[in-house]
Symmetry: C2
Subunit: 372 residues, 2 copies
């Protein structure tokens, strides 16, 4: 009786299931059954309930439902920075897949900082998300977090980056393979002094893109010129600085491990009056729809960003639904997109004389092949 009294003022308070039940002259169970299409409710009662719902403009409180059922139908997504053009398409893949399965996404930007990442993970856990999609920042997670995430109490799928101390499923693009193909292509073009603007080595795909580069040189029989290698952090500024450091050493080609650093490097090249592909060949990592219509048209490794996001979400939802079994690491194949920055058309123009090639590399012959 007491509780009924409280429910009198309709306009102030959101209507709840009791209000609907009262209005329809049935019990809350009946209302709940109608909403969740669970138990069979007789047609006349169902009608009355539906009408009451409409009249009151009632919306079930999903908070209360989540509390009672211990699942929120929400997944947390932690990326370094949604403003980095790499991530939006991943997140779109995530959101599409999540939405299809009835999940919402809580978006967080870690800025690649361990501390922000931990704060967000704590928050997501406290908000009782059903699962987490994580593009891990460099560094090790706190034990208290790791324990929860590893123990599959809250399933977690790693996106684009693996993590040593977090045993979990992971979905990546095959960056080693991508880098290998990219640099191999450069090698096939006849470049000898190939520079690298690599990603951060404390991130797994930074290492993979680096290793692919090394293998391609090895297979191609080229030496690694240590002075043509720069480690960046995937951001524009670091690519710019890498360009300033690298280009004066006259590499005849450069492989850059992501798009933003390529942007920075191009900026540096422009400042220095060095042109691509005339003065140096370039292969970049990660493709975008607009790269085909501006010059130099970038030769890139196209990464299946959308699919990575979608697949990671599918796996996560499987785990949420209780699937057990060994953790999987799924690598999706990238694809080399040959355009012009690698000097493909440029170099093929006529058949080039060896001297000309030599001339373009701007480097004495001895320095070219120190090992042989």
């Amino acid at each position: 009786m007491n509780s009924k009294r409280v429910r009198q003022h309709k306009s102030l308070k959101e209507p709840n299931i009791h209000a609907v039940a009262q209005r329809a002259g049935v019990s809350v169970f009946t209302v709940s059954s109608v909403i969740n299409k669970k138990a069979h409710v007789s047609t006349p009662l169902r009608r009355k309930v539906e009408e009451a719902i409409r009249e009151l403009n009632y919306r079930p409180n999903l908070l209360a439902r989540s509390l009672a059922k211990r699942q929120t139908h929400t997944i947390g997504v932690v990326v370094p920075d949604i403003a980095n053009p790499f991530f939006p398409l991943i997140v779109r893949g995530v959101e599409d897949e999540a939405q299809k399965a009835g999940y919402s996404i809580l978006l967080c930007n870690s800025d690649n900082q361990l501390e922000k990442e931990e704060q967000y993970l704590e928050l997501l856990l406290s908000k009782r998300v059903d699962g987490i999609l994580l593009t891990k920042a460099p560094g090790s997670l706190a034990h208290s977090l790791c324990h929860v995430l590893c123990a599959t109490k809250v399933p977690c799928v790693l996106v684009m980056r693996t993590c040593r101390d977090l045993k979990a499923d992971a979905v990546l693009s095959d960056d080693f393979q991508g880098a290998f193909e990219a640099v191999s292509h450069l090698v096939r073009q006849g470049y000898r002094r190939i520079g690298l603007v690599g990603g951060p080595l404390n991130v797994s795909n930074g290492r993979a893109r680096w290793q692919g580069f090394r293998k391609a040189l090895r297979v191609g029989g080229l030496p690694q010129c240590q002075d043509l290698i720069v480690e960046g952090d995937y951001r524009i500024e670091s690519g710019y600085r890498a360009g300033l450091a690298l280009l004066p050493r006259r590499p005849d080609a450069v492989y850059v491990a992501n798009y933003l650093m390529t942007v920075g490097l191009m900026k540096a090249a422009e400042e220095m009056g060095v042109r691509c592909p005339e003065d140096f060949g370039l292969v970049s990592f990660d493709d975008y729809p607009w790269l085909g219509c501006f010059h130099p048209r970038l030769t890139t490794v196209d990464l299946p960003k959308y699919d990575v996001g979608a697949e990671a979400t599918r796996i996560l939802i499987e785990r949420i639904k209780g699937k057990s079994g060994r953790f999987v690491i799924k690598k999706l194949p990238p694809q080399l997109v040959v355009r012009e920055s690698c000097g493909f058309t440029h170099r093929m123009r006529g058949s080039m004389e060896p001297q000309q090639v030599q001339q373009m590399s701007c480097v004495p012959k001895e320095a070219d092949i120190p090992g042989t």
Copy 2:
């Protein structure tokens, strides 16, 4: 083993406030007080509570808290498509500001479809978000939704687009002004047959960008050539089709109302062998960090995307905290960024001071290297 069973039981179930209270030998109130730093708790008790929290790896259940306090500290963000490069920076502005104030964001993609939008809004309302940031899809909202959103029961701030039937705060860039300046610049360059690839007219900023175009022609004393005007939908494909339709009619310049359509148009131009800026001038809307280092270097109207997101969030949070008063429509100023696609250097070649040219082509401006 009994003890093992107990342990298992504990590990299966998340510890709750009662468990903590029991462990610390106090009441739940005390625990709650410690967590929320509310009532003064004596130091010894507080110590015991904190220790129990650590030992149990307890995390307060924010769902339950939200239910009890009727606020979720979550805001819903509905954008057309996070994969459209226009939105990530807006969302980043939102997230930064939200995070500062202790809010999380639930991200939704409406694809500009009214139906998806309504489904998401319903969902957000059911999840009891404290407020909503909405980039409205074309069309009118259902009454039941409109009522809730308008009545400030759940505050809503419109982002980038106003909406006739949704009386609410709004934060926009001043697209009318931006378009006016962009096209005026074209006019000053001496172009006479200026084409338009406009945004959708059922979206407020589509109309604004259109009107700015018209006013610039009027002020410049130029006639509107109806056959040089195409309505697009802000996506690449529509820009491409617009290019195919427009370019054969030989406009001497084109103003395109967003970046993706510009990409499409450039693709069409390339296919048709029409060059920019040699054969036609181009001004685009919306700037990106990489536009300064590929050719043709696009002259654009730079929109304060981050600030729009951040400001909208600030206003929303004010509303959530109960601020009343008239709805405001805040317009943030855009900025014309002159590069080369408008034919500035091309047309001026010969009559320009050397240092000006230098400035245009090579030197990166601060704004071009953000710390994404």
